[in-house]
Amino acid sequence: MTTNGSSRRRSSVETDALALPLANGLVPVRSPASASIGGYVRLTSHVLLQAERKPFRTIGVVSAHDGEGKTTTAMNLAACLGRTRGRLGRVLLVDADMRSRTLSRLLGAETTGDGGSAGSSRRTPRLSLTDFEGVDLMAAPENGDEITLFGPGMWAQVLAALAPRYSMVVVDCPSVLDCAEGLVLPAVVDRLVLVVQAGRTKRGSVTAAIEAVDRKPVGVVLNQMDRR
């Protein structure tokens, strides 16, 4: 398993879409009128409509491989849901990618402790506020090694405990085809959003990912599509 976070290739475009700083602190998100935010708004409205027809609380963001834009999509989806007027309750953004923990690092959840040691804080999931309006973050727990696996029962208990407190829970899942937990998380969430990177992801990978999670996604995000 070569799931080192430092080896993961993330382009500058991904962070630029939200203008998020990599330093600590809360910075307001870019205006929704941005060129790239329109797709997320459409996805948000679609998710809300689906939830209106058949209520659900948890939605997972998955992709076939790493680096296709799951974290960006999850952040933007959560931000848009948090800005939705008329909602009942806050939105929880869950960083379930315990290998890279990108979301936790981006939003500064790794350093915000309650006085305990940094090592112990990483091993316990914690809730924290974010800079996004109406969005809380649950940082990813650190499993400590490469072979420890959080079973679906544990995640089901966590989500069952948190879901009644929030109007929507957005889970940033690991990639489906690159690690074993990528198969666990999609099984415990109510709906799925599939992220595909244009010009990189193969059709065979998309098919394999859908067959692996054994369910159709409620929405698909074609990320980084060339406008030409």
Binding site: A35, L43, L222, Q224
Partner: protein, 444 residues
């Protein structure tokens, strides 16, 4: 001149030299000839040499044409004479085979037929005369009472004597046969010969006995002659009658032969028209062949006279061409067409490179690039697109030339273009080495 070190008998050299000669027709009465070579002086020399050879050859064209006609007519005449001889031989063989029924023999056959008829008439007349004499002498003998048709006693005695001789011979043969049969069987050759001889003698005895009985059955109306004179007269009449009877037999034999000859002649005369019909095509063939040979002979004589005239007339060897301009070395080479060759090479290279790129793209694993690529995979799920944004350092998004995509094209175009350029250069600028001749020949 074009290949100084090459062998003139080398066929590939001739072919390559011909490929470097251009012929351009200008109007109805003029033409232009060119030679392509790396050396302008050598090209001019080669072209002038070709021009001189052409003019020298053309000066002899009229005489050669007439000589060719003469040879043609001579060959045709020989063939016609051969045909005539063959037809004549066939006609001759037919005539020899049907010599008796040819139309030319009709007159002779008619004469022979008439002669046979006249001879038959003469013989019949002689026969009737002899018969009348026999009748007269028989009547005389019968009226004289000395025996008309009665045979004389000496004839009967002679027959009896003859039968006795036959019977003696038969007894002798029987004794010999009995002796032989004691030693041999009947299929022995000597026994079989004796049996056949005995049977022949017995047949003779039977014939003689029948003759004697016929002689003795005649009515006995004969009386002895009254006197010696009457006896002489009767004897002479009998001799005359025997002569007449012999004459009738001879006439009948001659009449039989003459009748057969007459019938044969008549049959030949009847077959003459059929023979004539069969012979007519042969005669016509001979006639036509002889006429054809005569006509060819006339044409050959005319050609002979024309050849003699051209050989004796110097005006007939004038060159029928006017040289407007002989070849001079050009100031600058006209070829090779470097620009054309390079443009063609680059065009071909780009085309092949583009084709190779398309092929590579065709066999590359499909990549999701547009929303419709996902339509059949995700079903009725909503597909949203997030455009690719430039990095903060790039500023305003702008179109960029993606050189990476052009690399395979340019590479393929350069490779094929260089190869094509080398090919054109190789063919146009330098003569190919001799060891490449089989390959070039095969390529052609």
């Amino acid at each position: 001149v074009l290949f100084p070190d090459a062998a003139p008998d080398d066929r590939s050299v001739i072919v390559r030299a011909r490929e470097r000669v251009t012929f351009e027709r200008q109007g109805d009465y003029s033409f232009r000839v060119g030679v392509t070579d790396t050396s302008p002086t050598r090209a001019a020399d080669a072209l002038n040499a070709m021009l001189d050879a052409f003019l020298a050859s053309e000066a002899l064209v009229p005489r050669r044409r007439v000589e060719g006609e003469r040879q043609f007519f001579a060959d045709r005449l020989a063939a016609a004479q051969e045909v005539t001889r063959a037809a004549a031989a066939e006609l001759r063989a037919f005539n020899e085979k049907n010599v008796d029924t040819l139309p030319e023999a009709r007159e002779a056959l008619v004469v022979d037929l008439e002669r046979a008829k006249s001879e038959v008439a003469l013989l019949e007349q002689a026969k009737r005369s002899a018969q009348s004499r026999i009748d007269f002498l028989g009547a005389e003998l019968e009226s004289s009472g000395t025996g008309g048709a009665a045979p004389p006693k000496e004839e009967v005695q002679a027959l009896l004597q003859r039968r006795r001789q036959f019977e003696a011979n038969a007894g002798d043969v029987r004794r010999r046969l009995a002796l032989e049969r004691r030693k041999y069987k009947d299929d022995w050759p000597s026994v079989k010969g004796l049996i056949a001889e005995l049977k022949s003698i017995e047949d003779d005895i039977a014939v003689t006995t029948a003759a004697i009985e016929a002689k003795e059955s005649l009515p006995d109306v004969v009386r002895p002659p009254a006197s010696a004179a009457e006896g002489d007269a009767v004897r002479r009449m009998r001799v005359f009658r025997a002569q007449a009877e012999d004459e009738i037999r001879q006439s009948e034999a001659a009449l039989k032969g003459l009748a057969e000859a007459r019938d044969r002649i008549q049959q030949k005369i009847t077959s003459i028209p059929f023979t004539d019909v069969k012979r007519r095509p042969l005669v016509e063939r001979v006639t036509q062949a002889e006429a054809r040979a005569a006509e060819l002979q006339r044409q050959l004589d005319r050609s002979e006279s024309l050849v003699d005239f051209l050989q004796r007339s110097p005006a007939s060897q004038a060159i029928p061409y006017l040289v407007e301009q002989r070849a001079v070395p050009p100031s600058s080479p006209s070829g090779p067409a470097r620009v054309k060759t390079m443009v063609a090479a680059i065009g071909i290279g780009i085309g092949i490179g583009y084709g190779l790129t398309l092929l590579g793209k065709r066999f590359k694993p499909p990549i999701v690039d547009r929303p419709f690529d996902l339509a059949d995979l995700v079903g009725d799920a909503l597909v949203v697109t997030i455009p690719r944004l430039p990095a903060p350092s790039e500023g305003t998004p702008r179109r960029r030339l993606r050189l990476g995509r052009l690399v395979p094209w340019g590479y393929a175009a350069a490779c094929v273009g260089l190869a094509t350029l080398a090919w054109g250069t190789f063919l146009h600028w330098w003569p190919a080495p001799s060891w490449l001749d089989p390959l070039l020949e095969a390529a052609r």
